[in-house]
Amino acid sequence: MANAWGLKNKLFILLLIPGLAWLLCFFIFPIIIVFSMSFGQKVDIIGIDYNWSLHNYFRAFNGVYFFTLFKSIIISSITTFICLIVAIPVALYISFSSTRIKSILLISIMLPLWTNLLIRTYSLIAILRTKGHINSSLEYLWEASNRALNFLNLANYNIFNNNFIPLDLMYNNFAIILGLFYIYVPFMIIPIYLVLERFDRNLLEASYDLGANHFQTFFKVIMPIIIPGIISGIILVFIPCLGSFIIPDLLGGADSQMIGNIIERQFKSANDWPFGSALSFILIYMTIIVISVRYIYSKLYSKFYIRGMYEKY
């Protein structure tokens, strides 16, 4: 800031202290507690021995916990990928709409973000469960086609089984991925849209003028431009997916759990806080890694890519 005010001001202390004190007492300090607890060990129901061993981390990277950790990463990656595939066309469509339609579409994308996560997960249950709307519609179609076959005297061929077997849409990995997609996809659309909003449309005109088709234009012109938006979107989707626990808790079954469920169980029922802390810190480390990769990438991107683009042409 060009004309910053002097620090000897009483005002400075008055403005600095409340926020800083709150952050130190009620955020940094709790995080430090969890950090040191993650190196401790549970001795009895309430006692924790802070012996600074890596025991909990070794446990997290072994056997069933490592499998869950790995599975959480896979599920989050698949979800992020599906979000990406859906978000690009939607973002393209929104950014090219007329101003009035654009604002309506944008608000429609944002609005679900403001409704409660829990309520939206619950609303999916009503659709997916065994007696939910998808299965009852399918059952209706099934019976209607059976009746039609009866009417046409074709029932003997047994084309459809007499009894409708409902699809298992809930309590499996499919349900978790669908739920995560449904909850987090707006976070992918918005950053891509923001990049698309800023870029120079003449590049597209030039591409088509030079004879490229939609595919070529998309992969050679649009794609390189929206990469920063895609990366922000990946971070905004991947990190919450990795740490989510309501969605796998409500939509997933006994064998489809994610790292969030294990953390919750360590703190709420299994009562092994040091191990839960270690798992939470693994999540935090992963968040930091993802964000620093993005930071390094954005440095490299602005250094090589943008400069290269302008110097070459």
Binding site: W5, I33, L117, I119, P240
Partner: protein, 279 residues
């Protein structure tokens, strides 16, 4: 005359039928579950699969339910108190970061981002561990029994408020501040007479945003709430675990409605610009 079919330019993607189909299908899928939830809150059937006629009896049931009412009033109390605290903290932090350069400022900036970027569950467990570590008393008296949740909410809400207000401050025209100081105003007067009036819409927006975030939060509340401090989302969670009832649909509809209304005002106040004071 072959090209006569091409009436619009190829970059007019809104006319591309694939993009159009994908976008509208996506929007329908996005809204179908929520609409289903709202519509079936008026359904006159306990099992709630087939439409059996309109009724508002589940709303009456919700309003008669003392436990739900308590949870709701807890939620409102928590939201109001944490809104007030986080707006004050966020406002002072934003002004401080905007006008003062100090040692380690860069790191303070970064530290403020942390509560926002770490996974919510980590925030929740760290607050739980913290209150347990310092033996925070579990108060029996009503507003104090909510203290843990309020503290946890403020911790993740006030950095968001600080960021929003700071981004508003970045478009404030510096010449007006200089004019104020030239005319003999102290720093305190500049803040009181120029900055705060300029920020008024942003402060109202932050106020509502903080309220919404607090009312809406489940994960952090889930870890910090005790038996005496059940909030509406936590109550809904325990109801959902027991099964699907039209009552949950009714409560959820009410909560969605409150949040949508306050979000509308957030957007309205955030997009309000005072032309005379901006750059």
């Amino acid at each position: 005359m072959k090209n006569i079919k091409l009436l619009h330019s190829p970059i007019d993607y809104t006319r591309n039928k694939y993009l159009k189909i994908i976008s509208y299908a996506f929007l329908i899928i996005l809204y179908l579950p929520i609409l289903n939830l709202v519509i079936f809150s008026f359904n006159d059937s306990k099992r709630n699969i087939v439409w059996r006629g309109f009724t508002s009896k589940y709303y009456e049931k919700v309003f008669d339910n003392q436990i739900l009412f308590d949870a709701f009033s807890n939620s409102l109390t928590i939201a109001s108190l944490s809104t007030i605290i986080s707006t004050i903290l966020g406002l002072s932090t934003a002004i401080c970061l905007w006008k003062f350069n100090f040692y380690l400022k860069k790191y303070y900036d970064l530290a403020l981002l942390f509560p926002i970027i770490i996974p919510e569950i980590c925030m929740g467990v760290s607050m739980l561990a913290f209150f347990n570590f310092i033996n925070w008393p579990s108060f029996e008296i009503w507003p104090l029994s909510l203290s843990t949740i309020i503290i946890a909410h403020v911790s993740f809400i006030f950095p968001i408020i600080a960021i929003i207000i700071r981004s508003r401050l970045s478009i404030l025209n510096n010449e007006i501040l200089e004019a104020g100081i030239d005319l003999g105003a102290s720093n305190f007067q500049v803040i009181k007479l120029i900055v705060l009036p300029f920020l008024k819409p942003a402060i109202i927006a932050s106020f509502l945003l903080a309220f919404t975030l607090s009312l809406d939060d489940f994960v952090v509340t889930f870890f910090t709430s005790g038996p005496n401090s059940v909030t509406l989302p936590v109550k809904i969670y325990s109801m959902v675990r027991f099964g699907i009832t039209p009552e949950i649909n009714a409560v959820s509809t009410i909560l969605i409605l409150i949040i949508i209304i306050s979000t509308y005002f957030v957007i309205k106040f955030l997009t309000k610009n005072n032309r005379a004071l901006t750059k």
